[in-house]
Subunit: 195 residues, 4 copies
């Protein structure tokens, strides 16, 4: 019951976040083909952020699926994650509109890193509630992807002072690492029942 | 369970897409009747895109209804479809604001075609999971509508170089072909139980 | 199952419609109290439209609750209703921004009337599917409210040529007539079980 | 069933409210770090309103969870709450854009107070339906938090005439009081079953 509303509310917020980003693809007043050219960096950022938000939705989906009990703390840890996700459209648009300029790219990285951190916080809280012997703790056990992501985010933010395009490349790499849904959980779940 | 969230998330994103399109009907500052006239092409495009998105929601609804198992690949194929659907408001507004000019109409056709392609991809993946003897494979078996649509989209995009109004007419024809919900699936489902 | 997604999708679209209307309350750049004054007509229209959309959600809720079977036609009749509902934010903003000028008020009335008509169409279709002896047919039987609304809408649209404020008053009266949720259905449902 | 749609619709509206607030963080055209500085008050207000809306969602979630029966009056009391919640993005943006000026801060307080009042109205109605001996009446029994909030809101609105920053501080204090989810309800629920 309660879990159902947490899922429904998260789905709603994430669906809105992923969709309002497209509003930043401002419709050009000219019907010329060249009118699309300045939109290309925004389109690139939109695609990247769409994939990032998709990854969070996907993994959120898998993680909550394995949880039985939630409480007030989990609700707030979830809202905390949704807060940082809600800043993604802002940094996406700022980065796209300024064609990968230094400060927007830095803040893009910071917001992505905060998303990762708040997701990690939620995961840790859920594991604590489920117990160390739970399927969730087992499934999320050796979380090397998260630590690697942190490292790459830091490298990305740092390299923006040298060349922001390197940062964007690093953010793409993190997305590629996570693109595959969390197969550890999926394997566990599939072991339990058809999903 | 998992299917439930896929449906809920897709419903959310599609509901937002179909609704934010109306935001492109920019409220005129004048209270004059003539102030509505430049909005007529945008209104026409809004109606057409509303019907298109409605068709996708309708058929998505029918298709997922017949599926029992989903996995990470299906989630991404679904997000891929949602991505192309999310570009519909952009091309709708661009086409409407420029009164069916050549390039907007071409991109309208490309986005519509990509929607069709990503829907087909999702359908193929679901059939592969369900097995070739499944009700879904049977129901979607002879998919002449999809192939006809591809042909008409290509014709529409090509004819925009000659006269974009012909393209718009062709896009209307594709919508008419699909307007009837996928009765093949409906008949199967009705044969199973009341829905 | 299918009914669930119809409800979920309708809830999503109506939730977005009712919420994006507030975006037309454009934030004034001045912090002065007088800066709110030109927003008062928009606020009035927002409240009225909020109540209208709330009424539709409420009655839609009651009506679908009594239905067991839906099909492709119902899905499209529902989308048709959602289409006219989606135009409410446009006419609300146009009327509010132009302080109840003639043409915006006329179109406000037309869109409200079309909402009523498309709701009636959906109701008739659902009754036809449920059978003439169904609880729904019984509950919606003597639909004097709908016919009275049509009369008042027509009077409202006509009187806008004389004085648009009379029209607004008439639209308020229709809202008052419907404000009470469809107690006919509620009584039936309550007779069946606690809801 | 009916309760499910009330929850789904409320979740949808609250999800949209909490997300569209971020649209008021207008993307700066400059890529300069200093371009973010004028956004800081808006960001502060966004965070505060995000927490407020999160609190309402959280407590709404807990309260509806304990309710078995809803009716037309509850639906309208709920829509009334959603109406005042829908004005939060407006006052948030107005306050942020004008850097905590007097009138925006006063209206921020009024809207927050009206949210509290309409939530209280909904709670009272639900208790009345559930009966005075219900778990809900018991759980919400000694509602000192609500009365304290009213006092602080009044103090906040009044002190805006002297110094609006004091008002903002008081609004932060109310948020802190409510930040902990309604543990009275949670304890009851946990006593009943795992949630």
């Amino acid at each position: 019951m309660k879990k159902g509303r947490l899922e429904a509310f998260s789905d709603g917020v994430i669906a809105i976040i992923i969709t309002i980003m497209v509003l930043e693809l401002k419709v050009p007043h000219s019907a010329d083909l060249h009118a699309l050219q300045p939109l290309l960096p925004t389109l690139f950022c939109y695609v990247l952020s769409f994939i990032y938000v998709g990854i969070y939705w996907n993994n959120h989906h898998h993680m909550i699926y394995m949880v039985d009990r939630i409480d007030g703390r989990v609700l707030w840890a979830n809202l905390h994650l949704l807060f940082w996700l809600s800043l993604v459209p802002f940094v996406t648009a700022w980065t796209g509109e300024n064609h990968f300029a230094q400060w927007p790219v830095i803040f893009y990285g910071i917001v992505l890193a905060m998303n990762g951190a708040s997701y990690g916080l939620l995961a840790r809280l859920l594991i604590k509630r489920s117990g160390k012997d739970s399927a969730l703790a087992d499934a999320l056990g050796r979380d090397w992807k998260s630590w690697l992501s942190v490292l790459i985010y830091v490298a990305g933010i740092a390299s923006a002072f040298y060349n922001p395009l390197i940062s964007m490349g690093l953010y793409v790499i993190v997305a590629m690492i996570w693109f595959v849904p969390d197969t550890r959980v999926e394997r566990k779940v599939l072991g339990k029942e058809s999903c």
